[in-house]
């Protein structure tokens, strides 16, 4: 085995950079769409169950079981029903995002101290107002942490969705793996993998900024 052919990689990147950017864009889009859907669904489910002990444990254990299904298996199960491409990818990613979001919504809401809720009622706030001006803002740091975990999780899993012809950087990784031995096999796999890692790090940095500007200083 000779040393890695850097020149070859640079030529490869130079030729395919617009293709790579498009895949990065797709990857980002599918992650954001899925986590966005999961955020609405997950906080909704969290709000419905957080103060009911039985439904709460049912919701959290169901989401936990869902997370243990291997992503490759789930995609294989989804594709006969939903076909190939974006459909099964988004469903699978929403699926994996639900646990951290539901669990953190429940934990966040449960950690709002009862005297605060009693005070909020005591000054004449109705339940909807208490929810939107007290419970959700106070639980927000914990809910946001759940969303951050969901994003990290789905950036990785989205790469595997190329197995069902899903969008994103997984296409390069799979292309590289399926053409091992050819001139560009390593370039494909490496470009796909490193891009996924860079994307994950960038998204994490974005979350630090979101946290900084959306979490009240009184809660830090």
């Amino acid at each position: 085995m000779t040393g890695f052919d850097w020149h070859n990689l640079i030529v490869f990147l130079g030729r395919r950079y617009d293709d790579i950017f498009e895949l990065v864009g797709e990857h980002l889009l599918v992650v954001l769409m899925s986590v966005g859907i999961a955020l609405v669904l997950g906080t909704g489910i969290g709000l419905l169950v957080w103060n009911k002990p039985i439904t709460r444990s049912v919701a959290i254990s169901t989401a936990a079981v869902m997370l243990t299904i291997p992503s490759l298996a789930l995609l294989a199960l989804l594709s006969p029903v939903l076909g190939l491409g974006w459909g099964p990818t988004i469903v699978a990613l929403v699926f994996y995002s639900l646990l951290p979001i539901i669990r953190n919504t429940v934990v966040g809401l449960r950690e709002v101290p009862l005297p605060i809720l009693e005070s909020a009622r005591g000054v004449g706030m109705g339940p909807i107002r208490v929810l939107f001006t007290m419970q959700l803002p106070i639980a927000w740091p914990i809910i946001l942490a759940g969303v951050r975990i969901a994003v990290q999780l789905t950036v990785g899993i989205a790469a595997i969705a190329a197995y069902v012809a899903g969008p994103g950087l997984g296409q390069y990784i799979f292309k590289g793996l399926s053409s091992l031995g050819s001139k560009n096999a390593l370039n494909y796999a490496l470009t796909g993998t490193v891009s996924v890692i860079i994307l994950a790090l960038l998204l994490d940095a974005v979350f630090l900024l979101i946290a900084r500007y959306t979490i009240s200083r009184g809660l830090k």
Binding site: P113, P115, I116, E118, S119, A120, R121, G122, V123, G124, M125, G126, M134, P137, I138, S216, R217, G218, L219
Partner: protein, 339 residues
């Protein structure tokens, strides 16, 4: 208070309103015994009534039924003649100040925003709200420039409780409900908060229901004290002096505990006693005429002399001895006793 009185559903113009509770009961589902059993009480406008009793006697439940944080099972509650059970609970609560032991400041909002909560719910203008917040912070002795933009966690317990009181006073409600508001503070802070609270109440004259398990606090603050037993039964409802001098039964006596006379002395100002002429020799210590007889007795014991001088505005106006203190105590016992 310069802020306009906002009595909301209560019509009284001068701001203070009376409260009547009639046969108010609370039965929790699945419990045989009611938590509060047929509680009746009439509270005069501007009066500070203390509900005092042991833990679990139902005093807090009784209080929380007035702003319907707990819904009564039966009976009627009227504030200024209006049946509170027929009012919208949220509207009602915006016109009743509410302070709880755990304070319950909103942690994600600044002190300013915490205090502005009710004015905003009532749709006050920005200017009026901001002026009111500044006025209230000054009233509770927190510098607006220093504290308005801080968050609750940046304040000490005593400061937080002051903000809690300011928030409850924000829309100048005619009625205040206070549930052991100073219970969680250390003794020194508590004493300070109590003194400030008395000064404040002298200015604003709200109708206040104040729950405590601390009989000393009840004596110190209350215009009248209701000593409550099991299921919020009223054992005695009278002025602090009358309860101390003539407890209605053994239960009340046990609540007062030892040294009822000493506690009563703390309620009588030195000016009530017959002062002897100024002694020829100045005593080792002086008591101010505005102080109470317990302070005077304390100094007598401390100095060991036959009498101590009484001063008014720095000038010695007379002297007081043990006999004068005892006489003042006897003179006030039973005076103005009700029932």
């Amino acid at each position: 208070m310069t802020a306009p009185t906002n009595t909301g559903p209560f019509s009284t113009a001068n701001g203070a309103v009376g409260i009547e509770l009639e046969h108010v009961s609370k039965v929790y589902p699945g419990q045989a015994q009611p938590a509060v059993d047929s509680f009746s009480m009439t509270i005069e406008p501007g009066e500070l009534v203390m509900l005092v009793g042991p833990s679990g006697c139902g005093k807090t439940t009784t209080m929380k039924m007035i702003n319907r944080i707990i819904e009564p099972s039966s009976g009627s509650i009227r504030i200024d003649g209006n049946d509170v059970l027929s009012l919208d609970p949220n509207q009602l609560r915006r016109h009743i100040g509410y302070v709880i032991q755990q304070i319950g400041l909103f942690p994600h909002l600044t002190i300013e925003d915490n205090i502005a909560t009710v004015p905003r719910l009532l749709g006050w203008s920005k200017k009026k709200t901001a002026d009111r917040v500044e006025e209230l912070l000054t009233t509770v002795q927190l510098d607006p420039g220093t504290f308005a933009r801080r968050y609750p966690r940046q304040l000490s317990g005593g400061q937080q409780q002051r903000v809690g009181v300011a928030r409850a006073l924000a829309a100048d409600p005619p009625v205040m409900l206070m549930d052991e508001p100073f219970g969680a503070t250390d003794p020194i802070t508590r004493e300070k908060l109590q003194a400030e609270f008395l000064r404040l109440q002298a200015d604003i004259g709200k109708t206040i229901i104040f729950v405590t398990h601390d009989f000393e606090e009840a004596i110190k603050l209350g215009d009248r004290i209701a000593v409550l037993g099991e299921r919020s039964r009223i054992e005695q409802f009278d002025t602090p002096a009358n309860i101390l001098s003539a407890p209605a039964n053994d239960y009340v006596a046990s609540f007062i505990g030892q040294g009822a006379s000493l506690k009563r002395l703390a309620l009588i100002p030195v000016s009530e006693a017959r002062l002897a002429p100024v002694a020829t020799q100045p005593s080792a210590a002086q008591v101010d005429i505005e102080d109470n007889l317990r302070d005077a007795l304390d100094l007598l014991v401390l100095t060991g002399g036959p009498s101590i001088d009484v001063s008014e505005g720095g000038r010695v106006v007379g002297s007081i001895d043990h006999a004068a203190i005892s006489a003042a105590l006897r003179a006030t016992s039973g005076a103005g006793r009700v029932g």
